[in-house]
Amino acid sequence: MQNSEDGCIRYLMKEMDPSEEVEFEREMLSDEDLLIEVECLRQTLHKLGKLPEIQPPTHLTDHIRQQALQTQQNRLNHNKRIISWFGKSVAAVAAGVLIVSMGTYMWPVSEGTAIEATTAVSGAGSTDDGTTPWVDRNDVIRYSDQFQQAGSLEFEAQRSNSMKKLVRVEVTEPWSTTRPQVQLTGTSN
């Protein structure tokens, strides 16, 4: 029963497949009550066709159009501003990354120079390069001026070794007029 009731509406509203329509029409021919119901519903549906279309007031539609254009225009302008701000932000970040990258690239060059200088400094204090302290004819001990840093360990080590080698000179001539003083020598003579 439910099926035939819904079938009436579906048939009248043309929402049936062609095969369903044929089947339903066959059913109507064999069931007079069904046929009467379908015809009554069809007549009422026909009257519904007289329902008019009503136009909205002109002032209302004009206002709606104006409002719609304004809203959409504002939205588009807002989107443009966001895109512009975003673009500038991305450009700023990209520039920053580029500067940092360049700085990082250049930094290892400066470090290399410093390492080379340090190597040069440590190399200067090595006795293997012929910088052994020496004594001049006035018996004054001299060190090479190649030491860059007076406080370097190499320098201190050599100085202390040299100092250890110095001995007091004994004065044997009683007629020496020089005042007795301590004299040191690094030689073994």
Binding site: Q2, D6, L48, K50, L51, E53, I54, P57, R65
Partner: protein, 212 residues
């Protein structure tokens, strides 16, 4: 030249589908595109709302509210896959139902009057398709009577009848919009037609009684 260009633009917009017009409006806030959309659908949308609420001022408010929401939500919820008019109708329908449920009133059809001083909306309408004066009068009365009977229907039956009439909406879509099964939607349509037939019959008998 400007007039010709405008005429050509208008002609070309008529050939575009709703979806294409929506795309143009979204991208450029194109006035002509929106005008074409309005021209195509405004009377059906307004007719539906008016037929549901039976009050021109309320119909105006709901109509404006509908299009305010349409423009506000067009970028968010309309995905250009489905029909634009079905999407707009859903908004109009929800706004109308919200109003009706807020009111929760029984529409007093005794306000409908056949007096000369009547403010019946349909009596103010001029139907260009009917040229004969008598025929026009009969037509007006039929329309007025029909609207009166539509208003008597329960809200859910009225909804189905009007959605089907103004939008030729398939019952599957009507069922989805009203959150019921398709069988329920079909049943509501059937009972709406049965009730309308009953109202017409009662009116006819009343007229016959008065005629005696």
């Amino acid at each position: 030249m400007e007039l010709i260009k405008r005429h050509l633009d208008h002609k070309s917009y008529r050939q575009l589908s709703d979806t294409e017009l929506v795309k143009i409006f979204r991208r450029k806030a194109d006035e002509s595109a929106f005008n074409e959309l309005m021209n195509r659908h405004q009377s059906k949308i307004y007719s539906y709302i008016y037929s549901m609420v039976n009050n021109p001022d309320v119909a105006n408010d709901i109509f404006q509210e509908t299009f305010t929401k349409v423009v506000a939500k067009m970028d968010e919820t309309y995905n250009e896959q489905g029909k634009w008019i079905a999407w707009v109708m859903r908004i109009a329908h929800n706004a109308t139902i919200d109003y009706i449920r807020k009111q929760k009133r029984f529409i007093d059809v005794s306000n409908w009057s056949d007096d000369e001083g009547s403010t019946d909306f349909f009596e103010r309408m001029h139907d260009d398709s009917v040229t004969d004066a008598d025929e026009q009068m009969v037509d007006k009365e039929t329309r007025s009577s029909l609207m009166k009977h539509i208003q008597k229907l329960p809200e859910e039956q009225r909804t189905v009848v009007l959605l089907r009439h103004y939008y030729e909406m398939p019952f599957k879509e009507i069922a989805e919009m009203t959150n019921v099964s398709i069988n329920t939607a079909l049943g509501r349509m059937r009972y709406a037609l049965i009730n309308l037939r009953k109202y017409f019959e009662e009116e006819r008998q009343l007229e016959m009684k008065h005629a005696k």
